[in-house]
Amino acid sequence: MGDNDLFERLIKHLGEFLETDVSHLTPASRLATAVAGLDSMKVFELMLYLEDAFGITVDEKAVEHLDTLHDLEAYVRSRLPTNPAAV
């Protein structure tokens, strides 16, 4: 999956999860501030949502260190079943 494809899928799923327009987000957007009201509860729930959407397992401790959407995209990519680095 290409860089743009995965980012676009990520944005699509984020928009579905939040039920709001997130088309303004870019890879440089910061997770903590780019989406209003994205508190810890929503982040926990978002991780479950992304697990189902991408068929991956998310390591909570790794998520704590993600800063931008680019970081999240890279993390999702690393967890995809097709990635040999994914556990």
């Binding site: 939040l18 039920e19 009201g37 509860m41 929503k42 926990f44 729930e45 479950l48």
Partner: protein
């Protein structure tokens, strides 16, 4: 002179309508909200009927908590919808600028059983780490009061009364006493419950408490000789209660007066009511209203359609008919099933409609009153009535009883629908 507590706003969510006028119109027409269960496949149960709410409110999930509201169990969403309607009806689009002198009082009997059941099933199917972080906040009993307070930015006390089927009536009464006693100037008070979910049916069928009739037009049958159990209903009703001076200063319509309240415990059984305790509760509520037994013109009694409905008739006989009163008796569980903690507040909404139209609704499906009580005036068909004061009585598992008395407003007050 004690402070008078008036009702200035009404909000309902019910199986027969989600606006007070619609609710009362359908009740007067004798419409039933009972139908086949749609939330799950009920074929495994003897009872396959329920009185379900249809709430299509595109604005329900709005504001700062839109994300959270969507994740709440239905009892929270119903409380929120009814509270917003009540507040709007009273002319208070927000807290009216007095956030600390107003309280939120919510009664319920069951809470978030549907989400608990779904959470357990999901955990069993997919493992514990797939549990949503909103599971616990979405189902804990206080979340109805909590969400209402957060949504409306209220900063006074929020109280949750888990008094089983009397919980909503207790919420109304405790709010009445808080305002009358000067602790608060106004309150949002009511009850909510929504448990149309398989585990509810399992639990009540184990108690042989549900009707097994399959015709929605024939059950439940409060007070009827042929009653065979209750139908699970759901809904919420909330009211804005205010000290009269505050309401008059705002120039707001007065829908009625909440005049008296009592709650008691008693009985010799976990689940079966006790007529002596119920009579004691009714009498105390009437006394709290400053009335005598001959001044109550109508009784909205819970009467779920279960076998022990006749205990309520025994209580009414003892508290009123044996003491010079002859109030007609009705129950509207035939219209909307048993709504648990919401039953008292929904009965209050019905009673305010009765006071408005000077008419008592029928006890739907009543054909022949339970043996031994044929001499009591149980309303089988709706009829005109001169009504000044009505009693609402509820009771629940654990030997809990609660009654309130409501009255029509003074001359110049404009009740519901005006």
């Amino acid at each position: 002179m004690s402070r008078e507590v008036v009702i200035t706003g009404i909000g309902v969510v019910s199986p027969i309508g989600n606006q007070p006028d619609r609710f009362w119109e359908r009740m007067r027409e004798g419409c039933s909200g009972v139908g086949p269960v749609t939330r799950f496949d009920a074929k495994r149960f003897s009872c396959r009927l329920a009185a379900e709410v249809v709430l299509e409110d595109p604005d329900l999930a709005k504001g700062r908590y839109a994300h959270e509201i969507r994740r709440m169990d239905r009892f929270v969403q119903y409380a929120l919808a009814a509270s917003r309607s009540a507040l709007c009806d009273s002319g208070l689009s927000d807290a009216g600028g007095e956030t600390s002198r107003g309280g939120v009082f919510v009664g319920l009997g069951m809470g978030g059983l549907p989400h608990l059941e779904q959470g357990i099933l999901r955990q069993e199917a997919r493992g514990p780490r797939k549990t949503t972080p909103y599971l616990v906040p979405s189902l804990i009993p206080n979340m109805a009061a909590g969400m209402v307070s957060l949504d409306m930015r209220l900063e006074g006390p929020q109280m949750t009364l888990a008094g089983a089927c009397a919980g909503g009536t207790q919420a109304l009464g405790e709010a009445l006493w808080a305002i009358r006693g000067g602790r608060l100037d106004w309150a949002l008070a009511g009850g909510t419950d929504s448990v149309v979910t398989p585990i509810t049916f399992s639990g009540f069928e184990a108690m042989r408490a549900l009707s097994s009739r399959l015709e929605p037009g024939a059950t439940p049958r409060p007070f009827d000789r042929e009653r065979d159990g209750m139908i699970v209903g759901e809904g919420a009703a909330f009211f804005v209660l205010e000290e009269r001076g505050r309401a008059e200063a705002r120039g707001v319509r007065v829908r009625g007066i909440l005049k008296g309240y009592a709650t008691v415990s008693g009985g010799q059984s976990l689940v079966r009511g006790c007529s002596t305790s119920a009579a004691r509760c009714m009498t105390a509520a009437v006394q709290d209203a400053g009335l005598g037994p001959d001044e109550v013109d109508g009784i909205f009694s819970q009467a779920t359609g279960m076998p022990h409905d006749d205990l309520e008739l025994a209580a009414i006989k003892s508290a009123f008919y044996d003491k010079g009163g002859q109030p007609p008796i009705t129950s509207f569980e035939g219209h909307i099933g048993h709504t648990f903690g919401a039953s008292g507040p929904l009965s209050l909404a019905a009673a305010l409609g009765a006071l408005r139209y000077q008419e008592l609704p029928a006890t739907l499906h009543l054909e022949e009153v339970a043996p031994g009580y044929e001499d009591l005036d149980v309303v089988a068909k709706r009829r005109p009535a001169k009504l000044r004061n009505c009693l609402i009585h509820t009771q629940g598992f654990g030997g809990v009883y609660a009654s309130v008395v409501c009255s029509s407003g003074r001359a110049g007050d404009q009740p519901m629908g005006a």
